[in-house]
């Protein structure tokens, strides 16, 4: 165990730094909207997590810099005041180099302690949470920097990869391939030996009606039909809140789509490229996913329908997750639909994000991790090209507000 966990810790921390390699100190500074954090903040905050919840508990440990405790706390109210989220982009000091030193300092101390069986044992749960937490921020590093670069009129290329260095799309031949689910009482939620967040438990029973789930993700080409049918101009397809959001924000297409002189282009982490009709649509809000489904005469699955369908399938092993893409020097861009329900893009479900029956957040500051966000957010399931494959679970609940579009969020349909 001792060996395994320190290895895993090192790998995860290294993967974060690998993601940041193509970026300049200046790229790492930008906060392009309140939802986005500067890359440098992600680098420091994940480190702060280990320092605060694990190292600072040790009497012998000396904090790297006392001011970091205030600067890199995210939202843990019980740990004291935080630097205001929307101003994270205003802090140029400490510089990136010093933040990398901070990472090294904490890594050295963590790796040393992870050798101690007692430490690893005692804090097993928190160490795991810290690593899962870092993996969540790895995904945010990618989605946030995509938003940052999209604000630059010169359409920068994050990875400096040529356009063809992307996994090829594989829209399967039989479009009518639906996964059937019988009505009945099912158990859902996490079970097993590994790690899961508190919000995936307790495992519990739900009654599910007979229904079926599309094995395929909705593609850009299919979504384009909705646009061309004046989908963004017809209120009857939209939730009331979606319709007012669409009008206020002047939405005409998914985020990062641009109609240049009649041709549809798409901003990607490899720069601006023509829209790929066979690739899964991404960067849609819950409102758009819901409107598309209604227009198509279908609906979004509930998170439990999704989970039941997903647990029947196996991951293929070469799914286009972030680590696979980086290892193969492929662009982080959802061109290929996965064989399982997981991956390529997160999938909006019809479910609001609430606690499972009997849910209790853990005591202390870690209790602020999930439960307090259970309001006016919508569950997404699956995983995306920006997720690390080891971070994928069929019981995993991602969640965002209905208007969020800067994630790799797409659509899978269901029907009765």
């Amino acid at each position: 165990m001792k060996y395994a966990v320190s290895e895993k810790y090192r790998d995860i921390r290294l993967f974060t730094e690998r993601l940041v390699e193509p970026l300049s100190a200046e790229d790492c500074m930008v906060q392009s909207m309140a939802d986005v954090s500067p890359t440098r903040w992600h680098l420091a905050h994940t480190t702060w997590f280990f320092e605060t919840f694990l190292l600072a508990e040790e009497p012998s440990y000396q904090r790297f810099d006392d001011e970091f405790h205030f600067l890199f706390n995210s939202y843990y109210n019980t740990l004291g005041e935080q630097f205001p989220r929307e101003h994270r982009g205003l802090i140029s000091r400490p510089g990136l180099q010093r933040i990398m030193s901070y990472r090294k300092h904490v890594d050295d101390h963590m790796l040393e302690r992870l050798q101690q069986h007692d430490f690893a044992q005692r804090h097993a749960q928190l160490i795991e949470v810290g690593m899962q937490h870092e993996q969540q921020h790895q995904e945010l590093i990618l989605t946030d920097i995509k938003h940052v670069l999209s604000c630059n009129p010169t359409w920068p290329n994050y990875q400096f990869l040529p356009l063809d260095r992307a996994a090829q799309p594989r829209k399967e031949s039989s479009p009518a391939d639906w996964i059937a689910i019988d009505e009945g009482v099912y158990e859902v939620g996490f079970q097993g030996a590994g790690f899961a967040f508190d919000n995936e438990s307790p495992r519990h029973r739900v009654f599910v009606e007979q229904c079926s789930i599309d094995r395929q993700l909705v593609t850009c080409g299919e979504y384009l039909e909705f646009i061309n049918d004046r989908g963004y101009q017809r209120p009857e397809h939209w939730l009331s809140l979606g319709w007012s959001t669409l009008n206020r924000e002047q939405w005409h297409a998914p985020l990062h789509w641009h109609n240049l002189d009649g041709q549809w282009m798409q901003f990607t982490l490899a720069g601006l490229i023509p829209l790929e009709l066979e690739a899964p649509v991404a960067h849609v809000s819950f409102f758009e996913a819901d409107a598309y489904a209604r227009w198509r005469g279908k609906r979004l699955p509930t998170e439990f329908e999704w989970e039941l369908a997903a647990t029947r399938l196996e991951l293929a092993g070469d799914e286009p997750f972030a680590d696979y893409l980086l290892d193969h020097r492929l662009a982080i861009h959802p061109m290929r639909a996965p064989k399982s329900l997981c991956g390529s893009v997160w999938q909006w479900t019809a479910s609001s994000y609430v606690g499972y029956p009997g849910y209790q957040p853990p005591a202390g500051a870690v209790g602020e991790y999930n439960g307090k966000f259970m309001c006016d957010q919508h569950v997404l399931r699956g995983g995306s090209v920006a997720t690390h494959s080891s971070h994928i679970r069929t019981s995993y609940r991602n969640f965002f507000p209905a208007a969020a579009r800067w994630q790799f969020s797409g659509i899978r349909l269901a029907q009765w």
Copy 2:
């Protein structure tokens, strides 16, 4: 049937006008926030509903005024553009008198047609919807005018009733009186012969865990303990969104509570009165209901737990609903807790407002009634002192955003 429906129509329309009797033409003008509509708008819009969906279908019918079609449409996009909601308070013409003439015109035509068996038969469903719709607006007339008058620093009295003309509170003696529910698959949703809105169907099965529901509503006195325990200063009790709302809106207590020189006062439809500790707390948001429950070590019931508990109990017949209070010349103010789960104040549930499995909104403009609001709203159950008793059903789903406080919304607790 013919007789019954015209009678019911007349009664409902008269009850609306009875509610407006204490108000001046000027009172009826005010829109104190975007959520509130001027009383005159409620008077006209409910009339517009009957004219548009029933009379205008008849070839012989002449519209009272063509411009009203635009002015008094609320949100039916399929019926064309609407006058912007937030500007309803800017329209001084037509005046109140002309709006009352409009009501009379439409009532004359409706009552004449309701005599025709064929008409009543053919449109039975729409006529019923129109009446239910008017009853919903009766409640809004009361909650909206309460908000309007609360903006006036002279604390006007809506009904001109003395302070003691209110139903007396009856907090039952045994506080530990909980209604137990066994785990199992239950049927929920509307069933039976009468009327129900589309969102109460389809009746369907849900799996419910063992739990119990408090027979009593939370009182002002109990809620005051939360305030005095610094409930509004401690983030650990609150949802994240609730905590930011509380800070932005500077909430320190329920809406309409005022601490004047150390004494808690409450603005009511009978003016400003001392806080009544035994009366049910009202005008709390979902955020406050949820935080109070957490602080108390309890939780809010789901809407299905609530419905199961409520269907076991009978209405008492003299519950403090709006019609009872008006008939007895009592102030419209939640001083008395009801014997059933219904009434006194609406009760926030833990459930987000979503469609039941298989839910389909009706075709046409009436389809815009409920379904399109199924996002980021929270279900309330019961009914309040501002509701007409005939409008109460245990399957009835009221819904508002988590921050809404201007309704008579209160708290009932649940526990595992």
Copy 3:
């Protein structure tokens, strides 16, 4: 003197009520934007002025209603807190009738005291300020109600006069008629025996360069040439702040102009009518006046150039001021250009509103009347169809922010 002042007082108070005659209690409620006050507020506030500054000083006087002191104070900080300006439209009580009773109460007391030579003598200055103040609010009643009614999509007619009941325009034959001013040191500012506001003094010397002032106001037809020359699309004509305002507010023409299917219409106090090309343009901001002048190769006069030109001319006696128009049952609408520089529309000058050399506001609350607004406002000179003729002086300084358009504000050109 005793006779004269009470007569004048009575006339002015009556004229206010004459202006309100065509309005319903509901019309008098509306505050269509923060700059606009409800008519009922004007009625009460002008009365409050006499009560507060004159009657309340008398030991024997009993206030009509203590709460009015708070409700109808406008901006006199030294008199205590005020009801927030932007919420004036939310107060439905006291009703219009009670406000009229307030007026009668104060008028009775004022008229009684004005019989007392001693009172009239002692307070001569304040009485005069009160009457001038009421005349300013008479003009605001008209401009504010025009804005209020313009928000109503049914285009109501304030006076119920037919469209042709307006004074005919008289664009003089010789367009090149410029009033020449020689360079030199001149005295400007108020002098003489009558009343003037503090901001018109001290009379002082200024150096003025040689220049000339157009005897004619800019007409709607001339302004239309600017629009048709893409004046609103070309930044080179505009001040930087004007250009950003124009874009933010989506200005395409003066306020109250509407292009309906290619025809230019104009909302007036007599409802919606076709644009009259020969009438003076009104409802332009300082930004539009300045841009028009620049486009025309001219400029706006300074307030001193304007004053020098105006003092050479006499008023004609039948100028189209508010009292003349009402007496002749003509629409209050600037169709006729005046023979003097005064009247028809206020004229934006190039001068910022600042105090004259040696200017000192009076001591006490009345000192808050003018001086504290001397920042980021622009001087207008002349008078408009909404002004009472007795309120006109060539030294009179009106002032509004550069973006204000709801006044009858127009353009007179100057050149070197």
Copy 4:
């Protein structure tokens, strides 16, 4: 001439880079509010100015990067669209290094051409404008980075100088030392052989009343008396717009003043230091300068009174301007009051910023330099510790909106 101008060009360009030396690439990224530009933007924009107005006119010249034309245009509408000002902080590419290459590229080309007598002659005026323009941005680099660093809770030190490395204050002994000006007609505005901006001309006559101007700047200690006399709580001292700004922005003291546990501290370019009572007050708005003067029973001078007083005095040669401070390794911080009226802090005048009689902006894009900002801004005269000494002229007109506080702006009093 050939020699002189290329030398001057080189010196000015080098001074800019000297100012940026202490900053990291990350510091140079931040835009802490809309008024502030990132340092890197200043570096690029000043270069863009020379490229656009001088080099791009030469047929042989190759632009460094075509995209820079769009990215680094500031507000020249006639040169096409600009990148939105408030988003300048979102652009991380081109990076700082590439911007420095851009500077070198343009400098090489400029210096080569400045050797050509014909080029220097033909463009003499534009070359001079470009250099003056760069000097204006040098000052902005300092004031903007001060604002940027002030957002960082760790109070960074821009120059890394110890606290005592500042010029010592020299409040002169005789406080009643006023410069008298007699009434009369005076000539004001630029005259002579050197350079001046268009807004300093035409030289023209004004009539000035007898008055006197304080030889001393208002100090922090004097300003503290105003604060301690509850100056920020008493509306009678304030312009109406100032009072509402103060309340909205929660002003309690000048910008960068912090009351920490009862001790007044001040954020400076040398970090956080105790308030120096004898140093000139800085970072006050026009509103605060005006309120202070009124409270003191004095007033602000007009810009012409200031100019007349200043033209009588000579610069001392060792005034604390930016170049002197840098040469002597002193902190850029207004500790020493100058012997002349110029320097230490800019001084708000009572004058609105308008064109002088007969003022005409130059034709073409350079015409957008000054004239279009002549609205709702207030003239400041003098110069500050952030100004280069060679940039000082007694006719120089600086201008900012009344609420601006991030400049080194202070107070000099006048009286009749």
